[in-house]
């Protein structure tokens, strides 16, 4: 009993870490990727009338950050229910 509960707790934590890893990869990609590391090549592409790296640096990264937190919240609520650890 205690062993299977421990297994469940471990599986829950793994699912949580997977969600965090995927979302933080996107977080890094839109900020450090698109606006810093690839700033120079993306300068030649456009979003609307401005360079793509400039758009990511001053608009796109922030839009993505907001979406990431809401997705995380929705995703974790689902994982909580799946493993039956959600709050009453």
């Amino acid at each position: 009993m205690s062993d299977s509960r421990n297994d469940m707790a471990r599986a829950y934590w793994r699912a949580n870490l997977k969600a965090i890893t995927i979302l933080l990869a996107i977080w890094a990609l839109v900020s450090y990727g698109a606006a810093v590391i690839f700033a120079v090549p993306l300068y030649n592409l456009r979003v609307g009338q401005i360079p793509m790296s400039f758009w990511f640096a001053q608009q796109g990264s922030m839009f993505t950050f907001v979406i990431l937190i809401f997705v995380y919240s929705w995703w974790m609520n689902r994982i909580d229910r799946q493993f039956d650890v959600h709050e009453e």
Binding site: S31, F63, F65
Partner: protein
């Protein structure tokens, strides 16, 4: 009615409203005082966090700062928003589950050590104090600029307002007042930005106008023609390396700032803490994605209106003469040709624009009604007062809860704790007010300190406490100390001209990383040292390992063993 009358009326109404909200939410017990009884709805906590977070400087100076840094201004935009992703995914839900009152609470309990608790309390007080001085100063400046009272009087009025709702209502009073303050500041910012976007592009949505108009490209061309740095091209003002490190330091620092973290103790549930961070960032991003649009439009408009005009033409513009009197706008016909011209060369430049004018002058430049000017003044005050209140609470709870109750007098009664809490917040207000009236010369420098130290000390310690069950007292304390000392030393050496008064900086940079970004190196050292030492010393006791397992799961009460 004149602009001054409107400003007086609007500031008066908003202040009366804050006082009313604060009075309605007065509290009697410590849970209400420190964490608003954990009864704040997620969306309200989001708005309060946004007001808490966006300071007088965010409101007044950030768009101006971006308009001077161009592309590289993104360090502030990404740095001060991206930290919320880290906060939401890595810290807030677990700290809410842990369910105490303060940041030193968690660090002291998790690392079963009053040394760790004291270090965390000192870091909290230092970080909050450096920050709050700037807020009171901003209150004084807004008062003096818009209402023609002197700065000292402005600071005193601001202190009295904050003292009223913070001492009476603690976290509960502060929270609901901040919700009201968020509404005022965002309304003021958006009306201004929408107006200038409409004027230049006929598109009322600033974010759309920014992306789909050619104003940014035109401003870029003007800057090239004037011999200034390109606006939309990356790495003109900071190197790519520094953009990377400054952004990361601001993100880690944001996630480690105590006055932001404690806001997530106030919601009822773990799931509320997660979504509440989403609301907070949405409310923040409304302003932060408008700011770059305001930066481009206001700068383009100012240059276009002023550059190349004759002195008589410029003097006939009433806002130009008004802002010239404040010293934020300077005209000087150096070559005596009767025209005012901007130039990259300081010797030849005839128009000097202070960055604060970008936000403050826009309502008049865009010919908005006088009441909008009043609303902008009220918005700046709301931003400064709400941030000051949050910082004062974080500071006073570190003293009254962590130092007094948890270390000095664990047997204190509820009534004693409330008395000390109220006394400490009052004391903190007096100290903040003093710094507001007599700001230390290095106020600008201490912001680098606040973020660098939060990034290098509190953020790694909390993160490891949740995600590394094996992390023990020895590792955490060594990590915090190394992170703190390294970061402090580097900032002092790099900024020695301002801080120590040397004629040259004692250190140019740390391997190319400047003072604002060096906190990241401190954080990395913290992680490495903590890991190495924890693996060569005994693991944490059994009940601490149980505590870590419990904070990772939303359901279930924390076992009493965590109280040790």
């Amino acid at each position: 009615m004149s602009t001054e009358t409107w400003t007086l009326i609007i500031v008066g109404i908003t202040f009366a409203f804050y006082l009313y909200v604060g009075y309605m939410n007065r509290v009697r017990e410590t849970a209400g005082f420190y964490v608003a009884g954990r009864g704040v709805p997620a969306i309200a906590n989001g708005a309060a966090t946004a007001a808490d977070w966006m300071s007088g400087a965010s409101f007044v100076s950030m768009a101006g700062l971006i308009s001077f840094l161009g592309y590289d201004g993104a360090v502030y935009l990404m740095g001060w928003t991206g930290g919320y992703v880290l906060l939401a995914l890595l810290l807030a839900p677990y700290l809410r589950k842990y369910g105490k009152y303060t940041v030193p609470d968690f660090i002291g309990d998790r690392y079963y050590s009053n040394t760790a608790r004291s270090v965390a309390a000192i870091a909290t007080i230092f970080i909050s104090l450096t920050y709050v001085a700037g807020q009171m100063r901003a209150v004084g400046i807004v008062f003096s600029r818009f209402l023609q009272v002197n700065i000292v009087m402005g600071v005193i009025i601001g202190m009295a307002i904050v003292a009223f709702f913070a001492v009476l209502g603690g976290m509960k009073g502060i929270t609901w007042t901040q919700v009201a303050q968020y509404s005022v500041l965002i309304a003021a910012y958006l009306i201004t930005t929408v107006a200038i976007a409409m004027k230049l592009t006929n598109n009322p949505v600033p974010q759309m106008a920014f992306t789909f108009s050619d104003i940014a490209a035109r401003l870029n061309q003007i800057q090239i023609d004037l011999g200034l740095k390109e606006y939309i091209r990356p790495f003109q003002n900071f190197s790519g390396l520094n953009v990377f490190f400054i952004t990361l330091a601001l993100m880690l620092g944001t996630a480690g700032l105590p006055h932001v973290i404690i806001r997530f103790y106030t919601v009822p549930k773990v799931s509320d803490a997660r979504i509440s961070a989403g609301w907070a960032l949405l409310f923040i991003a409304i302003l932060y994605t408008s700011a770059p649009a305001l930066a481009v439009f206001a700068k383009y408009n100012l240059i276009n209106t002023l550059h190349g005009k004759t002195i008589q033409e410029v003097e006939s513009i009433d806002w130009a003469t008004k802002w010239e009197q404040t010293g934020l706008l300077k005209f000087e016909d150096k070559n005596g040709d009767g025209k005012l011209e901007m130039a990259a060369d300081k010797e030849a430049n005839e128009i000097t624009i202070d960055r604060d004018i970008i936000v403050l002058s826009t309502p008049e430049v865009a010919k908005l009604a006088p009441w909008v000017v009043g609303l902008v003044a009220a918005g700046g005050l709301a931003a400064a007062l709400s941030t000051a209140a949050g910082l004062l609470l974080a500071m006073s709870s570190a003293i009254s809860h962590d130092v007094y109750y948890r270390i000095l007098k664990p047997g204190a009664t509820e009534a004693e704790r409330m008395r000390v809490g109220r006394a400490m917040i009052f004391l903190a207000i007096l100290v903040a007010g003093y710094f507001g009236v007599r700001p230390p010369g290095f106020v600008g420098e201490v912001v680098a300190f606040a973020f660098g130290l939060a990034a290098a000390s509190l953020f790694p310690a909390i993160l490891l406490g949740i995600f590394d069950k094996r992390m023990n007292r020895e590792g955490a304390i060594a990590g915090i100390l190394v992170g703190l000392i390294f970061t402090m030393l580097m900032i002092i050496l790099i900024r020695s001209q301002k801080l120590l008064g040397t004629s040259e900086p004692l250190l140019e940079s740390f391997l190319g990383i400047n003072a604002q970004g060096v906190g990241v190196v401190g954080a990395i050292l913290n992680f490495i040292i903590a890991f190495a030492i924890s693996r060569s010393t005994p693991p944490p006791p059994e009940h601490i390992q149980t505590l870590v397992e419990e904070i990772r799961v939303p359901r279930g009460a924390m076992s009493p063993v965590a109280e040790h």
